[in-house]
Subunit: 472 residues, 2 copies
Amino acid sequence: MISAALNGNIIVTATAEAIATVITDLRALLGERLSTGAAVRGHHGKDLSHHEAALPDAVAFPGTTEEVAAIVRICAAHRVPVIAYGTGTSLEGHINAIEGGICIDLGGLNRILKVNTADLDVTVEAGVTRMDLNAHIRDSGLFFPIDPGANASLGGMCATRASGTNAVRYGTMRENVLALTVVLADGRIIRTARRARKSAAGYDLTRLFVGSEGTLGIITEATLRLYGIPEAMSSAVVGFDSLEGAVNTVITTIQSGIPIARIELLNSAMIAAINSYSKLSYAERPTLFLEFHGSPAGVAEQAENFGAIAQDCGGGDFAWTTKTEDRTRLWQARHDVAYAAMNIRPGADMITTDVCVPISRLADCILETEADFKAEGFPIPIAGHVGDGNFHTILLYDHKDPDETKRAFALNDRMVMRALAMEGTCTGEHGIGQGKRDFLIAEHGEAVSVMRAIKTALDPDMIMNPGKILKP
Amino acid sequence: MISAALNGNIIVTATAEAIATVITDLRALLGERLSTGAAVRGHHGKDLSHHEAALPDAVAFPGTTEEVAAIVRICAAHRVPVIAYGTGTSLEGHINAIEGGICIDLGGLNRILKVNTADLDVTVEAGVTRMDLNAHIRDSGLFFPIDPGANASLGGMCATRASGTNAVRYGTMRENVLALTVVLADGRIIRTARRARKSAAGYDLTRLFVGSEGTLGIITEATLRLYGIPEAMSSAVVGFDSLEGAVNTVITTIQSGIPIARIELLNSAMIAAINSYSKLSYAERPTLFLEFHGSPAGVAEQAENFGAIAQDCGGGDFAWTTKTEDRTRLWQARHDVAYAAMNIRPGADMITTDVCVPISRLADCILETEADFKAEGFPIPIAGHVGDGNFHTILLYDHKDPDETKRAFALNDRMVMRALAMEGTCTGEHGIGQGKRDFLIAEHGEAVSVMRAIKTALDPDMIMNPGKILKP
């Protein structure tokens, strides 16, 4: 057996002998906590994306940072790839073992190590999920705001620089990680920072590892910022005459300094999809879902000021909700957009697109994308984190139809290149993984050589999640 | 002539011949815009800190990014050090040419390239100062909040990860830089990101260069976040019975989600110093200077809620001010703390200390520091960005008294080690420069080897601001 999932331009870094030796050594270390079974490997060899499965040769289940380091040292000694695994909810093939090797499932690192209420921070192991964390700290009056939709592991959210619906107010993982514990490619363990809120002490290793997708090291612990649960929260839904009106409302809202907590845009096609899927009855037009956090008076004032702006921009009547169960229902519908969109064409394959542009270009970018999809005959349900200029289309196609598949991928390519032409990015929050490595070069040009120099310096044998972010 | 400012553990990277050749080549490129005059070199060979002057061999005055790149290429060809210079207001010897070489004064890169009001961002050249930027954009209703006190260049503020009094609300340079143009050690020019608010596209090069102090490349342009000028601003001063009371007020305020814009702590000794220097008459006790930004009603509510918290923690009467000229006078007094402290002992030398701890440890850290200074017989004026856990003492000593000098530096050493023992950092905002390289290792341990690997990968000949952050 040699490494799985070979293809033309992938370098095989590990021989069958090396992998067999590593498995023997790992078995001695982990016993039953190493699996080579097909089902376990299959479960760990594919994420939620359209990328083809690529199975690891074995899956390790460590319980501590030190065990992760020991596993990496064994793999490093034989130049066998190491792929970190959180919950498998990535969207660009991040966890697929495209050169084979050992998957490290971090689910066993699931301890919440220290909640510092006075400092508004918490230190967790990488396998803790965001919902587990929020359940654990609820009684302290604190919460962790970053919400990518899936109940992802916090280590995985660090590794992919996740964000989501709250980012307009609270930032992304980039802004909310204070420090990381990382196992390097040779098994050394580092801590990237301490618990101080800010520091000017040397290179910002925390931000370097946030978003590095397991290619520079394996994140095993994270210290995260927490926030007080707002005294009042109020959500609303409002439809607009035009997409430009909805986007202009957001631009003016942010310029006015209204600290909106969530502001999400759904186009007419997506509203139709969620009406059908979630049994709702919103008017089928460009619609904003919004949420305000603050004191009762503050939330009321924000809502009033926002309402005046929306009215000037062609906004219709607001459907307000402040009761927790109603708010939950509203945001559940928003979180279910992927399922709602899939329901447009049951059984279809799906590309979850993800571009982000300066907000002044957002309406143009969405309208041109809609026109392009329409011309090609694809449905075009769109949902976007409009405060950040980030939006997704759910691109439904049938992989058994080669022509349609080709046209679907070409649409995604054009969507990315359109965003780049508008000074945007090829990925707002899903990351590069396997799927956007060429776009990374289109976006960053010469700067990719700096990324490659860093990769080579920190992982000279290219064993850390090889083939992700950078092509070999 | 060989490189200036040799000492035991500094490696000389450039021979006299190399420097002479570089100066000849630069003269051909820049003509009169290259200076080897003693006065110009002297002006560029010392920052505002206690570190001894170390003069560059010549100072170049480029006008464009391309000229900076051409200068770096010439220096790189002969392995001659290159030191970027903004306004010379750094506080740890950042710009001192401790191995000689060519200083690049970026003051000629002073264009504000593009203000995008809808996107709340601006692209500037590195030599633009923060006050120039704010004067330029005032009529647009926008402002750039980061305020380190000095009217520093924005390139220098990027390079040192500057922050200051507004960081508790608006973040530091880390959170407010969207993209950078950087000249690398071999003269290549890269752009680290585009204008999208967020991106998950590859390694976060922006954050890597923010805070890299000119050791990885030279920042020549920056795209920065802007904010709407708040509709209402209100400032206040309030004294406390105890330092713990003042700090607990801040902790509770932040936990409550009150979006305070500035919250600064001055201890009794600093209040006495500013009373004397700025002709004020505050009661000599631990005192908070604060500012609220928002709508008129929002600011009033914040102030009321804050007042209730302060009263519970032993706060006295508030001195409120909303008129612009009064607010300016109040914050001018705060900004002048260094001059006020120097006025305690005119003619003394000064170490501007800078540590940052988790806020739960701040009162302990300050009280232990005060006791240590008192035991050694030094005045102890303290000012702190208390919302971030960051504080400074102005350590006054006479460098002509060897014993006093030794005791002053030992006090600074103990202050840093105390902060590290409390999970803090050796520098909240001033950076490592020359002065804190050993503390960097004490703080980060093995992680410093990762910083060194990155430095070696991006600057293999060690010509970019050598001897800063990392020892050779």
